[in-house]
């Protein structure tokens, strides 16, 4: 369960990282070598996110009703 959580955690974090990379590349404050590294990281991440979301299927769990008393 924790493993699954961790894996899903990275989706939101991946999107955040993408935004970060996008901002950095747009700011033009990063050197050429770092820009290329960031760009590569971003493309890999965006492909991963795209696939993750496209392949996702809604999971449904039904809890057992807890009878009072």
């Amino acid at each position: 369960m924790t493993n699954m959580k961790k894996q899903k955690d990275t989706f939101e974090e991946s999107l955040k990282r993408l935004q970060e990379i996008s901002d950095l590349l747009e700011s033009g404050t990063v050197g050429l070598e770092d820009s290329v590294t960031l760009y590569e990281e971003g493309i890999v991440l965006s492909k991963k996110c795209f696939k993750q979301l496209q392949d996702a299927e809604l999971k449904i769990t039904e809890l057992k009703k807890q009878l009072e008393q």
């Binding site: 369960m1 959580k5 899903k8 955690d9 989706f11 939101e12 999107l15 993408l18 935004q19 990379i21 996008s22 590349l25 747009e26 033009g28 990063v30 050429l32 820009s35 290329v36 760009y39 971003g42 493309i43 965006s46 996110c49 795209f50 993750q52 979301l53 996702a56 299927e57 809604l58 999971k59 449904i60 769990t61 039904e62 809890l63 009703k65 807890q66 009072e68």
Partner: protein, 391 residues
């Protein structure tokens, strides 16, 4: 006096008469002194302006009442009169209870809403934020209801990365409020629920009443997990809506508020690829331009000038070295010629021509008489030839 009755005999007669006569009554009145005993039984007084009567409603019966009675509420009850001999009093054993009109529920709603609002349950400072990217969405609703189906379909369409955790609950009628409250509590005990949606589809005020119960409002308020309340249609407001962190007009709308839109995420990713590619091209282009400019700058050209200058200097040097060695060699050449002449003048054949001869033994020239060995063959070289002798 003959025929005198004991108190018990009279009471028994009264009991028989009353209980036979009022075996089934329908009574309208206002509730006062309502008490829900820990045993689960209800005790209250039903009254109008001129009279009052005690009522009891046993636990097994009152669990079928869909609302929690409040003092001042006008209700209609069905039941029968019972007499309690030890006390000598009579009361109504209540079988069923309903509000005397829709206005009664509305009034009860307003009253509870005001009280809870005064107690601070609806205060903005307690409202929690709804997370943007929920991993687990808890739902409290009926598992076979349209509300649940609608929410599932919205979640699948918008954000299938999420997991739905359903606490199946009654959403109307007796016991519904307690189940909804239990659902909220249960979901709070799970370690990783990000947001809870409670709700149901549309219905009458009576149908929706569970969501107007204090027990639900308290459970919503006490939830550590943000709660979205989505009961009925846009026009329906319930107490749980006010207590919740967010009110949604419908269950579908609640799921839309709880999830990010897949299409927007795809658009964001596409935009990223497009913009970042453009940006990286710009960055590389800028560096290329800068490089070109540096290449053509005076500063960058000066090393070439320097090299040219040094080359010239070097050529000059080489030229000078060459001419000085030329002189050296021609001088040496001259002295060599002179020496050759001297050597030629001292050449051995010249001496031999003069009449000298060379004596040698075993290939060695004998220049001293003590070196001469009488027993060895000697060679004597003259100018015009050699002879060998042995003494």
């Amino acid at each position: 006096m003959k025929n005198a009755l004991t108190v018990s005999e009279l009471t028994r007669e009264i009991k028989k008469t009353l209980e036979d006569r009022f075996d089934s009554v329908v009574v309208v009145g206002e509730i006062s002194n309502f008490k829900a005993h820990v045993s689960g039984h209800w005790y209250f007084t039903l009254k109008d302006t001129d009279a009052q009567i005690s009522c009891t409603m046993w636990r097994g019966k009152n669990s079928y009442v869909f609302f929690t009675p409040q003092d001042g509420m006008k209700i209609t009850i069905t039941g029968k009169i019972t007499v309690y001999p030890p006390r000598g009093n009579y009361q109504i054993d209540v079988n069923s209870m309903s509000p005397a009109g829709e206005g009664e529920l509305q009034a009860a709603f307003e009253k509870l809403k005001k009280r809870l609002s005064d107690e601070g349950l609806f205060d903005a400072e307690f409202k929690k934020n709804i997370p943007s990217f929920p991993q687990k969405i808890g739902i409290v609703t009926a598992s076979d209801g349209a509300a649940f189906r609608d929410m599932i379909s919205v979640a699948s369409r918008r954000y299938p990365l999420a997991e739905i955790v359903l606490y199946p609950s009654k959403v109307q009628g007796e016991g519904a409020a307690a189940e909804i409250a239990a659902g909220i509590k249960t979901l709070n005990q799970l370690p990783d629920i990000d947001v809870i949606i409670i709700g149901r589809g549309g219905g009458s005020l009576e149908d929706l009443w569970a969501f107007n119960e204090e027990i639900v409002a308290i459970a919503v308020f006490n939830s550590k997990i943000p709660v979205i309340s989505a009961v009925g249609h846009e026009i329906d407001f319930t107490i749980s809506d006010f207590a919740a962190d967010l009110r949604a007009p419908t269950p579908s709308a609640a799921m839309e508020l709880a999830t990010p839109d897949k299409d927007k995420i795809f658009a964001f990713i596409n935009e990223f690829s497009y913009n970042s590619t453009a940006n990286i091209c710009d960055i590389a282009g800028n560096y290329k331009d800068t490089l070109k400019r540096i290449n053509n700058s005076y500063g960058f050209r000066s090393p070439f000038d320097l090299i040219r200058n040094k080359t010239q200097f070097l050529d000059n040097l080489i030229f000078r070295i060459q001419s000085s060695t030329d002189i050296f060699f021609s001088e040496k050449n001259n002295s060599l010629k002179l020496l050759t002449k001297i050597i030629e003048n001292n050449d051995i054949s010249t001496q031999l021509k003069k009449g000298f001869a060379l004596v040698s033994q075993n290939g060695k020239i004998i220049t001293r008489s003590l070196n001469y060995d009488k027993g060895t063959e000697s060679t004597i070289r003259f100018f015009d030839g050699e002879i060998k002798i042995k003494l």
